[in-house]
Amino acid sequence: MSVSRPFSIARWFHRRGWSDLIIGLPYGWLLLLFLLPFLIVLAMSVGSQAPTAPPVGFGGEYPWINPRGYQRLFTDDLYIRSFLISLMNAGLATLLCLGLGYPMALGLTRVAKSWRNILLMLVILPFWTSFLLRVYAWMGLMGKSSWFNQLLTDGWNLLVPVDWAVKSIPMMHSNFAVVLVMVYTYLPFMILPLYSSLERLDPTLDEAAMDLGSRPFRVFLDVTLPQSVPGIIAGGLLVFIPAAGELVIPTLVGDASTPMIGRVIADEFNSARDWPMASAVAVALLVLMVGPTMLYSRYQARAEEGPGK
């Protein structure tokens, strides 16, 4: 059959020059509208704030490279604190997503086939509805007079001594609310990669371990869990990376006195009109993301190859 393989479609496109167009158009687009804007941010981060429009000065009376933004990152309390709060909130949300998402994904692999697709659809469906409205749904539930808050309040009052009784539970505008809503909105990102790595496991391995006398929980610890590590890492980073840079959730349900880093960037840019500072914080956030991202792409490739490799 394939003696000489006279033509491959790719080679033909190369020879006729069509490949230049097919590669060049999206390439050029991304260079112009993604890479160039990013390089602008990089340049701005060493600029100086100026009373002009745009509010940045380079050269002339200003230095070409002004490290003020980066210096303030390490000296101003606000930035260090908001970085720590972001990492903490995102880390906590990731762990909670894992705690809830892992048994859910494992449960999905155990339900009858006919149900499975419907349930998977139900996991994905909230993801297709508006993100903003999903955050808003929790704003309704957490409010002081909502049925949900009152239900929790009644439960609390029933359990604790009388003098600890409260009228409502203050959930809104706290880091608790931020973490809760993050878990809610990002949980599908945890469940789906976990499901796809758990689904591929060979059930006969479980059975073999059981036959050899392992208790079910030991089978889980020794057989299932180690094989799903790539899925855990992929899902974890898929939650952690967007959560750490989140802007909408902390703005709507978060506490303004302990802002997350995304909000700091937006405030520096919009309210303070301090482009260099906003850019420096953005660059620092990206530098922090590089590690997790490299980890993700490594494990993603491994998760796709399948378990046990």
């Binding site: 809830l100 509805t129 508006s130 007079s145 989140e246």
Partner: protein, 279 residues
């Protein structure tokens, strides 16, 4: 045999309750007669009436829809080209940078994409006088940029799995390369391209952060309108809007799933028939 996983089923039930109780609560409260969004005051459809007679809401929804259709279409064309290039052209100059450029927007925090776009537009307005005013065009350009890479990811994955022997067989049988592209490669990727378009459409329709940075006076998309209302607190007409969204999206997703399932089944059946008639 496997033991019945009581614990897993319990967690599954809890998880689905966690997913859907907030949404259901929002839908129930959209029929609330009370002005206070969280206190029940009898059944009423007045929020739907006030929502649908609100010209601002209708205009915002139309603008969002327009931006989403245009940006998803361009994103699908560009994204499919990039996916085709990455899966079929093994080596070309700058391939590493290119594959970096199609992954980076996926993980870039939206705030950073937003401010970088805005800085870019402000600077180009200063240097070359474009864009004169930010609005439809700048929002659409930004949306194309960050949604095309999702299309690329989907199409590239699909074409990577596709059996290239079919393309080669078509060429051996005398098809011209364009015919192969049109009759074999693109139909193979059809479901991927369609889901890419749908994803790009949804992402665009849903985006707040990047839109809020690239918009200008007078261009308020639906998410921006919701954003500005919700920042002030819970308002009952947003419940009605959310209910409509959930119902429309639910029907849309079910329909799209059904169409794609059928197309995929037909494609597999065609392939199988093509192979078996060879024997």
């Amino acid at each position: 045999m496997r033991r019945s996983p009581v614990f897993l089923i319990t967690v599954l039930c809890f998880g689905f309750a966690f997913f859907y109780i907030p949404i259901l609560s929002m839908m129930v409260y959209s029929f609330n007669g009370s002005r206070l969004a969280t206190v029940w005051g009898g059944f009423s459809t007045k929020w739907y009436v006030s929502l649908l007679s609100n010209k601002q809401v209708i205009a915002a929804a139309l603008l969002s829809f327009k931006i989403a259709v245009v940006s998803a279409t361009f994103a699908t064309i560009l994204g499919t080209m990039a996916g085709f290039a990455l899966s079929r052209f093994r080596k070309f100059r700058g391939r590493t940078l290119f594959s970096g450029l199609v992954t980076a927007p996926l993980i870039m925090p939206e705030v950073i994409t937003g401010i970088s776009m805005l800085m870019f537009f402000i600077l180009t307005a200063n240097w070359i006088g474009w864009p004169g005013a930010r609005g439809f065009s700048t929002i659409t350009l930004a949306h194309i940029t960050f949604s095309m890479v999702f299309v690329t990811t989907i199409v590239q994955a699909r074409l990577g799995q596709a059996d290239r022997a079919i393309e080669e067989a078509a060429m051996d049988l005398g098809s011209r390369p364009w015919q192969v592209l049109w009759d074999v490669t693109l139909p193979t990727a059809f479901t991927a391209i369609l889901s890419g378009w749908l994803l790009a459409f949804t992402i665009s329709l849903d985006d707040v952060v990047i839109t809020s940075f690239t918009t200008g006076p007078g261009s308020t998309t639906l998410p921006l309108l919701i954003w500005s209302k919700v920042k002030l607190g819970v308002t009952p007409d947003i419940n009605a809007l959310a209910t409509i969204t959930v119902v429309v999206v639910g029907i849309g997703v079910a329909l799209a799933g059904w169409v794609m399932h059928r197309a995929e089944k037909r494609r597999l059946a065609d392939e199988r028939m093509a192979f078996s008639s060879n024997d």
